[in-house]
Subunit: 367 residues, 2 copies
């Protein structure tokens, strides 16, 4: 099944697979989709460089992409130590009190401190871009909208396409005006940073808003072939999927925490929540005792990006190590409720394509 | 375009149109869909009887349905005067203070007091059912899930089908076990009472949960033909639409307030909010200065159903009469952002069907 976006990206299936894991992203590309590596977790650009070396060696010459996180407006920018000083004591006290109440132990002596996710910093995201430009990536995507004009220009000079995620039609229009090549319309159902408009409404709205100037990928709530077909019905040129890869063998190679996979397997579509507690901007996470604590009357308002993630970085490490599935801090979309087994990425894509084809045949029979 | 649900309901297009207006509902049935009259606004069963007489006379012998509101658990039940006594003074004070701050004048002398929507009361909903059973309706739907077993049995004895709205798979499964004939999977995007799972995720999940025992209609975020086609791709047998009819000539006959249509025309898909302030249960409304006031730190928690609507009934009357588009208390789905003109119901359905057919042809070309 080919759409024009397949030709544009040089892929066989209109499936774009976002993952923070280079194993997942490489496997998506090998299976005929476009694997997109999420860069935000790489505080050290050298680690991203190594991950992209892995992509270069393991995608069999097929195209892949990278995803950076550059807010449209440059947020608080400062050295890590200065940022730490901006975090109110009342917030630190709440986190400590909550971890105690949840029965989450401190880190063992000698465990390295978590640095927080510095990839939210504009300066760090720019280093990610520099590293990516030195690799043969086909696409550079920005999770928080249009990248700055010089980043778009540099990507184009290197023969890369630029994609931007949009949660509202006006954002998509601004992105196209800025020179973005592909808009990813991301609905409320999505994991991680996401807006309030559901995919069913948002996708055709953004398709109509950008017209035939650029193709639109559909994101948010897509995990099976019927959902890919629905995205195509709504006018999208393909599907951008993230949560679908969380329960794959390749993703399991990255996370050492069985509690995470246990939590993901147990989650239903009602078990996620959109909250600012992860990064400072609204992001969909698994709903559990940790997210519930932040909804109690005694909880402070989450801080702004990037302070909130610095505040909770140590807590995230402790929550992950605790081995308790009902406290893991984990971005995930509502579609996680539809995944009940751990499979290789290639098998996930094979099922997706088969169900998509079957759906198109079924719809053809209705006409 | 026919699906099996067309044969089941005796209609020509898989489009089910819910509206509190008998003019809209009758027009949907005349145009080949199934018009479903919302009963909750009829405090006096005799008024519902008259509206159904209108349906009988104006649907040209084509099938129609009725929609009642029966919570699964019987809520607070008492005489209107006793219910009034359960409303805390702090809530009444907040409403008065807010209306003053919004510049909403009191009702003119001699204007009748609003009664609130008593249709939320189980006893009143039961009277709606009794009235409906005396008319040749084809379908009785319950907006809040499975009706009680005796209501299902009575409907079946009268040759009527029973539908129930579901916002989560477990509710759909319970409804089918109770004998419901059609499940309406209603996603987060929907206007009025709605859950938290987006349509893209919810529809296939409910289709899979009920299997081939009953057909599933898709609701929430459906207003154009691509969205109907997407619903069919997701496995639904047809589309249940509500907000799409708010901007029709027939609906304009019911509401005397130009401010409402002005507000609906101006709204974008970002201009709705899910809130308990209308009825006590989460319902999607137009977002405006009235809904914002309830999100301020000084606002009390909304009361439970049916007290909240009794609390705000007088305020609703005043807000509607104020002529200010930015305060109208109005249930509406996110799809309202895609409607920019007032057309006859028949023209809306004609466009829907044409776009649906065109979408199926386009998808056929991709295979």
């Amino acid at each position: 099944m080919r759409t024009p976006v397949c030709d544009l990206l040089g892929i066989e299936q209109p499936i774009i697979g976002f993952s923070p894991s280079e194993q997942v992203a490489a496997a998506v590309s090998r299976a005929g989709g476009l694997g997109v590596l999420g860069c935000v977790r790489f505080n050290d650009p050298a680690e991203l460089d190594a991950a992209l070396d892995y992509m270069d060696a393991n995608t069999g010459g097929r195209p892949y992409g990278v995803d950076v996180v550059m807010p449209a407006r440059v947020p608080v920018e400062a050295a890590a130590s200065d940022l730490e000083a901006m975090i109110p004591q009342v917030h630190r006290d709440f986190v400590e009190r909550t971890l105690l109440a949840l029965g989450v132990p401190p880190l063992p002596d000698g465990a390295p401190d978590a640095d927080g996710v510095l990839g939210w910093l504009h300066s760090v995201a720019r280093k990610h871009v520099e590293v990516a430009l030195a690799h043969p990536a086909r696409l550079i995507a920005n999770a928080l909208g249009s990248p700055p004009p010089d980043v778009i220009a540099a990507a184009h000079e290197h023969g890369m396409l630029v994609a931007a995620l949009a949660g509202a039609p006006k954002h998509a229009q601004a992105q196209v005006a800025n020179g973005v090549d592909i808009v990813v319309a991301q609905g409320y159902e999505a994991g991680g940073h996401t807006g309030e408009i559901g995919s069913m409404v948002l996708i055709p709205e953004i398709v109509d808003a950008v017209g035939d100037r650029v193709p639109v990928l559909a994101a948010g709530g897509i995990g099976c072939g019927r959902q890919v077909a629905a995205a195509l019905a709504l006018g999208a040129a393909g599907a951008w999927m993230g949560s679908a890869w969380l329960l794959t063998r390749e993703y399991a190679q990255m996370t050492s925490a069985p509690a995470v996979q246990q939590a993901l397997l147990a989650a239903t579509s009602s078990d996620t929540v959109r909250s600012r507690i992860y990064s400072g901007k609204p992001a969909r996470l698994l709903k559990n005792r940790w997210t519930a604590a932040w909804e109690q009357p005694d909880a402070p308002e989450p801080l702004r990006m990037p302070l909130q993630n610095l505040l909770v970085a140590g807590a995230h490490q402790r929550l992950m190590r605790s081995g308790q599935p009902d406290v893991v801090p984990m971005p995930a979309g509502q579609v996680v409720g539809r995944i009940s087994e751990i499979r290789p990425v290639a098998a996930v894509i094979e099922s997706l394509v088969a169900e998509m084809d079957e759906t198109l045949r079924r719809l053809g029979g209705l006409g």
